[in-house]
């Protein structure tokens, strides 16, 4: 099918998004053509600024528009407790639950040799540095409950164990093999309650 170049470029951009196939991309592209110009401009600006203005917090690795991020700066939160997650989306899931008052550390992935992802490719080194000077007493490992998430938790546990910091693994009230981000708030808070010592 032939489309004028601006449209085919737009279609092409949409197909780069996850979960969007060629058919949906065409539908979205034509929808954009029907939108008010102001809305389209806002949309374009949000895309660019989301990318440009957000960085990773130099302390915890979460995405933020200020460094350190608002959670790391929040003095009312418990500095002695760090919850380690794989993804910024996991932080959002945890925060929704409103029961965790410690701080976070975002790994941005899990160790997976078959995908060429080693410990140096995820945000582990900065976690180890953080543990050296922050007076942390407990590390909660909330990586995903699949093979890679488990392995990543075990790896971190091995590194941290000598320091004497208490290490717990979030309990599997979560669907096995499922992703944390899909867990509803009830199962998640159950999982926090029942965490086990590693």
């Amino acid at each position: 099918m032939y489309y004028p170049e601006p449209i085919s470029k737009l279609i092409d951009s949409f197909t780069k998004l996850p979960g969007i196939g060629p058919k949906t991309a065409v539908r979205l592209a034509f929808f954009v053509l029907e939108m008010e110009e102001d809305d389209v401009l806002d949309f374009a600006k949000s895309l660019v600024s989301a990318k440009r203005e957000l960085t990773h917090c130099s302390t915890c690795g979460n995405i933020t528009d200020q460094d350190p991020c608002s959670i790391c700066q929040d003095d009312s939160r418990d500095n002695k407790l760090i919850c380690v997650v794989q993804d910024p989306k996991d932080v959002i899931a945890m925060e929704k639950m409103k029961e965790f008052s410690g701080k976070y550390h975002v790994l941005h992935g899990a160790i997976s040799p078959m995908d060429g992802i080693g410990p140096e490719d995820i945000n582990v080194a900065s976690l180890i540095n953080r543990l050296k000077d922050e007076g942390v007493e407990e590390l909660i490992l909330a990586t995903n409950p699949n093979v890679e998430g488990e392995a990543t938790a075990m790896y971190i546990s091995r590194l941290v164990k000598p320091s004497g910091i208490r290490i717990t693994r979030i309990a599997h009230g979560l669907p096995m093999g499922g992703d944390l981000e899909y867990a509803d708030e009830v199962t998640l808070s159950k999982a926090m309650e029942g965490r086990r010592e590693l």
């Binding site: 040799p113 078959m114 080693g118 093979v147 392995a151 790896y155 091995r158 096995m176």
Partner: protein
């Protein structure tokens, strides 16, 4: 348990088919390449969500069609429930009671099937992989959680093999991650071996007398587990784990050198002995066939004792391969208790008594006529 209805949509050479079965014996008659095995395959697929003859699901979709759909109505403990498998280019969906099951271990086990086909001779003659698949599938259908552990094990194994490949190139690199993956491998591996031991004890208990019966008291069948890590059947999980740990410590250097995992349930095998002699090496064709048949019949009884109901039996093209004695022994064993599907090119050679009571289905190029 039995399957009362089956409907197929663009599955293999069946365009649109809907059948009701006899709860005892169903005979599928047809010339070569008409769709007998395809029908058996569909029933097998409903139980295991995969084919018995191909790992590539796409082959099951009728040529030039978008998807294949298999639906069955199963009756178990006097209750009826539907099973459904939909295969498309995008993947596979499995529904139990109309609800999609995301994990194989949540689907498998609802319907139990035992299949005996000519290629089952490979159970004795073939590579260790064939025997591992046999034991894994059979445990899986009586103990669905096993399928989950097996999948976890295979995932860890893949990760560990990738890491060992990396270490092969850089042996001086940090080995913490290897230690982690070894722990993970042992966690799932030891469990798999332990479950296999428990299963073998059951299988042996049923297979020995059955084999004695089919061989007219002439042969004694023994089954042993050939383990890549020296553990034995009297051991429990707590005993197996440290032996595994020791083994992996011993072979670490070798594993890094070779860049792959050298021990574990993926390297184990089963061995069959008749009157003390290894059937794979010394058995005649007939002995190998009898051994395979005994194992299949043992499975039927095993499932009955574990699940509480007899499984559905699929006999694809095997009746004609058995001599008169074995054939009538087989038919006698299943009579009146096991819903059975028998495929054949002609009814000659099958006892009239059986045929008289059976549902007869004539297959002709993807269409089926019910004769009775």
């Amino acid at each position: 348990m039995h399957i009362s209805e089956l409907s197929l949509r663009s599955f293999r050479n069946y365009n649109d088919l809907s059948l009701t079965f006899d709860d005892q014996i169903n005979v599928i008659i047809g010339d070569n390449a008409q769709g007998k095995t395809n029908l058996m395959e569909a029933i097998y697929l409903l139980a295991f969500s995969r084919s018995h003859r191909t790992p590539r699901d796409k082959e099951l979709i009728q040529w030039d069609k978008e998807y294949a759909k298999i639906k069955g109505s199963i009756i178990k403990r006097n209750r009826r429930f539907p099973l459904e498998i939909i295969i498309s280019n995008k993947g596979k969906k499995a529904k139990l009671n109309h609800i999609e099951q995301k994990r194989l271990s949540d689907y498998i086990g609802a319907m139990n099937v035992v299949m005996f086909a000519p290629e089952d001779l490979n159970l004795v003659k073939g590579s260790p992989q064939v025997r591992r698949r046999f034991i894994d599938m059979e445990i899986g259908q009586v103990q669905p959680a096993y399928v989950y552990h097996l999948a976890q094990y295979q995932k860890v194994l893949k990760q560990r093999n990738s890491l060992l490949k990396d270490l092969q190139r850089k042996p001086e690199a940090d080995r913490t991650m290897l230690a982690v993956l070894t722990d993970q491998l042992i966690e799932h591996g030891a469990l798999i071996v332990e479950r296999r031991f428990r299963f073998l004890q059951l299988l042996r208990k049923w297979a020995a007398p059955i084999h004695e019966g089919i061989s007219r008291q002439l042969e004694a069948l023994e089954i042993t587990y050939d383990a890549s890590v020296k553990v034995s059947e009297d051991m429990d999980l707590e005993t197996i784990v440290p032996i595994y740990q020791e083994k992996f410590t011993d072979i670490e250097t070798k594993e890094v050198e070779r860049g792959t995992t050298l021990a574990g349930p993926h390297r184990d095998d089963l061995m069959f002995f008749v009157n003390g002699k290894d059937v794979q090496t010394y058995g005649s064709q007939g002995q190998q066939r009898t051994t395979a048949l005994s194992l299949k019949l043992a499975e039927i009884e095993l499932i009955k004792s574990e699940v509480g109901e007899y499984p559905i039996l699929l006999l694809d093209d095997v009746l004609s391969e058995l001599d008169d004695f074995r054939r009538s022994h087989l038919l006698h064993t299943i009579q009146g208790k096991v819903q059975t599907f028998v495929s054949t090119t002609s009814v000659e050679g099958i006892e009239h008594e059986v045929i008289d009571q059976a549902g007869i289905f004539r297959v002709d190029n993807g269409t089926i006529d019910i004769e009775k």
